[in-house]
């Protein structure tokens, strides 16, 4: 197999993922006009992109386990802290 032939095959291998990503993106636009949440579709896009386009599925599992759970934890904490900041804004703790 030639070098160019091999690279052509890999593009063909990722074409299904590419079309799925395009379809999900199109689905987001459709759902937005129907007033439905697109959160689930965005999560699927994220997982597909991370695992296949960024090749995380082909790396050692320890890399995935080191990076992703900690990131999700930090993002969840950010979410909680932001809501707390809004609550504090309403309470105005130092206003009295």
């Amino acid at each position: 197999m030639t070098a160019s032939g091999k690279s052509g095959n890999v593009i063909a291998k990722y074409l299904p993922v590419y079309f799925v990503l395009l379809a999900i993106a199109a689905g987001e636009f459709f759902l937005a006009y129907q007033n439905f949440s697109t959160a689930g579709l965005v999560r699927i896009l994220l997982v597909l992109g991370l695992m296949y386009f960024m090749h995380l599925a082909h790396e050692k599992r320890s890399l995935f386990l080191s990076l992703i759970p900690a990131t999700i934890f930090v993002l969840l904490m950010l979410n909680m802290i932001w809501s707390d900041s809004i609550r504090l804004l309403h309470m105005r703790p130092f206003a009295h």
Partner: protein, 203 residues
């Protein structure tokens, strides 16, 4: 010698510890950068979300023309990720001309995306929405501006990597590492679109 082996044994590696994930250190460094950048975007998008919900008279300025423009930008960016995969793969297969063609395609698609982005911004300027025109303008231009900066930086990085890879001073591993960054910029856009554009459609 494979890249993980080079990472373990190359450049006086006998004195160094084995790579913890069997990947070159530059790739691990890029992953750590991506994680920190993801948290930066996460913080900004969370802040945007709370502002959006807590502001009663939030602007919803995006008409059909804007949404079509954003859909085109999304298509361009997802396609650029595919051409980037082609560049990484061709470089690993040793097909330098093909890798350079794919890199050039990715850069062109990145520039088209940036051009469409600027067109979108000028459309909003015409409607009186600017960085200084209230919470919506500040949030919108901060988030999209940061992403735009990432795209432009990515195009510049791709140009440098393509030139040096062409001259032989960079390896396929460098192309792959730059590709990781490019895919990340693509993924961030997938969050920006629903949060910033699709929740603000004019009805």
């Amino acid at each position: 010698m494979s890249e993980p082996e080079i990472a373990m044994h190359g450049q006086g590696g006998a004195l160094m510890e084995e790579s913890p994930y069997s990947i070159p250190s530059r790739k691990l460094t890029m992953w750590l950068f991506i994680i920190s950048d993801a948290i930066t975007f996460g913080a900004i998008l969370f802040a945007y979300g709370y502002l959006r919900v807590a502001t009663p008279d939030w602007q919803t300025p995006f008409k059909s023309a804007s949404i079509i423009n954003v859909a085109t930008m999304t298509f361009v960016l997802i396609t650029s990720s595919l051409t980037m995969l082609g560049a990484v793969d061709a470089s690993k297969a040793g097909d330098k001309p093909k890798a350079l063609r794919f890199l050039a395609s990715t850069m062109v698609l990145g520039l088209i995306f940036a051009g469409l982005h600027i067109r979108e911004w000028f459309g909003l300027f015409d409607e009186g929405i600017k960085l200084s025109s209230g919470l919506f303008g500040q949030a919108f231009f901060s988030i999209t501006g940061l992403h735009f900066l990432h795209v432009i930086t990515g195009v510049a990085a791709l140009a440098v990597v393509a030139r040096k890879y062409s001259s032989g001073s960079l390896t396929p591993g460098h192309v792959e590492t730059t590709g990781l960054y490019w895919h990340f910029v693509d993924l961030v856009w997938m969050f920006v679109v629903p949060l910033v554009y699709l929740t603000n459609i004019a009805r």
